[in-house]
C-alpha cells in the first residue's frame, strides 16, 4: 500500500517536472484546447438556445392578433365575431386585458425588471388580443393581410417565418458544432500529442534506464497520462469560464434590449445550463488530453 502511495507521489512529481520543463508547449496546448472548447462550447450553446427558441415558438399561437388599447370590450366582441366567422380558422382564443397585463408583469419579474413602475392595477393600459390557429398553414399570409384590414386591429403577428428562420439556423449551428467537434478535437489532440512527445524525448534517457531497471508500466507511463489530464483540465476550466462570461454578458445585454427582440430571442439562463455544461467541458478536456497521452505512449514509449 505504501509502495503504491509512493508510486502515485512519484508520478505526480514527475508530471509537474515535465510540465514545468516544457511550459511553453504546455501554454500552447492549453491555449489551443481552450480555443477549441470555447468555439465548440459556444456553438453548442447556440444550438441549445436556438432549439429553446423553436420550442418556445412551438408553444405559442400560430398567430397573435392584437387590438388597439382604445378598443372597447364591445368593439372587441365584434372583432372576435369577424375572426370566428372566417372559414379558415381552426381555433381562436380571446386574451383579456387583465390576462395580458399579468403576462407583462410576470415577464418583467422573470427578467429581473419588476422594479420598473408599471401601472399594474390599471388593465386599460393593455389591450385585448386573440390567439389564432389556422386549418391550413398555406393561408397564413392571406389571412394576415385580411385581418390587417379589420377596423380596431393594431397588429397581426405570425410566427411562421420566425420558425422557418430558426429551424434553418439550428440546422446550420448543429452542423457547425459537429464539424468543429471533429476538426478542433483532432487539432487539439495533435498539438497535445506534440507537447507530450517533447517531454518523452526530454526524458528519453530516464525512460531507457527505467526500462532496464524494470520499472512498472505505471511508473513509466503515469507521468504522461497525468500530463494529458492536467492540460485537459486547465484548457476546459479556462474555456468554461470564458464561455460563461461571454454568455452571461449576452444574456444581460438581451434582457435590457428592446421588447420586440426579447419576444423572439429568449436565452436560457446560464444557471440552468451551468453544471451540465461544466461537466461536458471537463469531460471534453480530459478525453482529449487522455487521447493525446495514450497516442504518445503508444507511439513513443516502447517497453
Amino acid at each position: 500500500m505504501r509502495s503504491k502511495l509512493r508510486g502515485v507521489q512519484y508520478i505526480l512529481k514527475q508530471s509537474i517536472v515535465n510540465l514545468a520543463r516544457n511550459w511553453y508547449m504546455l501554454l500552447a496546448s492549453v491555449f489551443v484546447l481552450f480555443a477549441s472548447l470555447f468555439i465548440m462550447g459556444s456553438l453548442g450553446l447556440a444550438s441549445v438556445n436556438v432549439q429553446h427558441i423553436l420550442d418556445e415558438q412551438a408553444g405559442r399561437p400560430e398567430m397573435e392578433i392584437s387590438c388597439f388599447t382604445t378598443v372597447t370590450e364591445d368593439a372587441a366582441d365584434l372583432i372576435e365575431k369577424t375572426i370566428l366567422e372566417d372559414p379558415r380558422i381552426r381555433t381562436c382564443t380571446r386574451v383579456s386585458r387583465e390576462e395580458n397585463l399579468k403576462k407583462l408583469t410576470d415577464w418583467l419579474a422573470e427578467i429581473g425588471m419588476s422594479e420598473i413602475e408599471y401601472p399594474t392595477e390599471d388593465s386599460s393600459y393593455t389591450r385585448v388580443s386573440f390567439n389564432v390557429s389556422l386549418k391550413d398553414k398555406a393561408d397564413v399570409e392571406a389571412f394576415e393581410a385580411d385581418m390587417r384590414k379589420v377596423s380596431g386591429i393594431e397588429e397581426v403577428e405570425s410566427n411562421q417565418s420566425v420558425r422557418k428562420y430558426f429551424t434553418g439556423l439550428r440546422n446550420g449551428v448543429r452542423t457547425g458544432t459537429y464539424v468543429s467537434l471533429v476538426v478542433l478535437g483532432l487539432l487539439s489532440i495533435l498539438l497535445m500529442l506534440n507537447t507530450i512527445r517533447l517531454t518523452v524525448f526530454a526524458r528519453k534517457k530516464e525512460l531507457r534506464i527505467m526500462k532496464y531497471v524494470g520499472a512498472s508500466h505505471a511508473y513509466m507511463r503515469g507521468p504522461f497520462i497525468v500530463e494529458g489530464i492536467v492540460i485537459g483540465l486547465l484548457g476546459s476550466i479556462l474555456s468554461f469560464l470564458a464561455v460563461r462570461g461571454a454568455y452571461t454578458y449576452l444574456w444581460s445585454y438581451l434582457a435590457h434590449s428592446a421588447t420586440s427582440i426579447q419576444d423572439v430571442i429568449s436565452l436560457i439562463p446560464f444557471e440552468d445550463l451551468g453544471l451540465g455544461l461544466f461537466g461536458l467541458f471537463i469531460l471534453g478536456g480530459v478525453v482529449t488530453g487522455l487521447s493525446a497521452s495514450m497516442l504518445a505512449i503508444k507511439r513513443y514509449i516502447k517497453v
Partner: protein
C-alpha cells in the same frame, strides 16, 4: 576450471537460437550455450558478431526468430508483455556510455533505480550508502556525473545496476571508454560482484584483460559460437579449453 552443468544450476541457456531482423540481416544463427549460476563469462567477437543482439534477446527487447532462451528457469518467450518489466528486475545492465542522468547527483542516480520500484526513503538511504561504499564512491555521493572521471561514472552505473540485487549483471563494453587503470578497477569490481553470487556476463573487446582474468569466454563469430572456454594463451589467437556442457 571446467564447469559441470549437472551440478550447477543453469542461469542462462540459449537453445539453438536464431535471430533474423525484418530487413533480412541474420544477426544470430543457431546459438547454443549455457551459463551457470554465479559464473563469470566474457562475450567476445568482432563488431557485428551478434553481441548486442544477444544482450537485447536476454533483456527481452527482441524476440528470437527460432529457438528458446531460458533465464533462471523461465522460458523468455512465455513471459507475458505485462510481466517483462518484472523479469528485467533480475538483470542489471551497464553500458559503455554509462547512461547517467546529468541532473541527478551520484546518490540520486543510484537511488533512482530504487525509487522507480517503489522503495521507501529509509531503504534507499541504507542500500545506496552500502553500494556506494562498495564502489568507493561515498565521498562523491553529492557530485554530479559531469564532475566525475570516466571510471567514476562507470562505477556509478555499476552501483545503479546492482542496487536492486539482480541475479544477472550484463556489462556491455564497460571499459570501452576508460583508460587502462580505470578499466582494471571496473573489472575488479565486476569480479567482486560476481564473488557475491551474481552471474556476470561481460561483452568486451579487451582481449588482454580477458586473458589476465582467466575466465570463460564465449567467442561469437558471425552469429554462432565460434569458441567457448577458458583463454589459455596468445591474445592474437584465442585458444580455449572447452567447457564441460553435458547437461540436456
Amino acid at each position: 576450471m571446467a564447469l559441470d552443468f549437472q551440478k550447477q544450476k543453469t542461469m542462462i541457456w540459449f537453445d539453438r537460437v536464431q535471430k533474423t531482423y525484418p530487413n533480412g540481416v541474420e544477426a544470430i544463427r543457431n546459438l547454443d550455450f549455457r551459463i551457470a549460476e554465479g559464473e563469470f563469462v566474457f562475450l567476445m567477437g568482432a563488431s557485428g558478431a551478434g553481441k548486442s543482439t544477444l544482450i537485447k534477446l536476454l533483456m527481452k527487447e527482441e524476440e528470437p526468430s527460432q529457438g528458446r532462451i531460458f533465464v533462471n528457469g523461465r522460458t523468455l518467450s512465455k513471459i507475458r508483455r505485462s510481466a517483462i518489466q518484472k523479469y528485467r528486475r533480475n538483470i542489471g545492465v551497464v553500458f559503455q556510455d554509462f547512461r547517467l542522468l546529468e541532473r541527478k547527483t551520484v546518490f540520486e542516480n543510484v537511488a533512482f533505480a530504487m525509487e522507480i520500484l517503489g522503495a521507501s526513503r529509509s531503504e534507499i538511504e541504507e542500500r545506496v550508502g552500502l553500494v556506494l561504499e562498495l564502489m568507493g564512491l561515498t565521498a562523491k555521493k553529492d557530485e554530479y556525473p559531469t564532475h566525475l572521471s570516466g571510471g567514476e561514472q562507470q562505477r556509478v552505473a555499476l552501483a545503479r545496476a546492482i542496487i536492486n540485487t539482480p541475479k544477472i549483471l550484463i556489462a556491455d563494453e564497460p571499459t570501452g571508454n576508460l583508460d587502462p587503470e580505470n578499466a582494471e578497477q571496473i573489472m575488479q569490481l565486476l569480479l567482486r560482484i560476481n564473488e557475491r553470487g551474481t552471474t556476470v556476463l561481460v561483452a568486451t573487446h579487451a582481449q588482454h584483460m580477458v586473458q589476465e582474468l582467466g575466465k570463460r569466454v564465449i567467442y561469437l563469430d558471425h552469429g554462432v559460437v565460434g569458441q567457448d572456454g577458458i583463454v589459455q594463451s596468445e591474445p592474437e589467437t584465442l585458444m580455449v579449453s572447452e567447457v564441460d556442457d553435458d547437461e540436456e
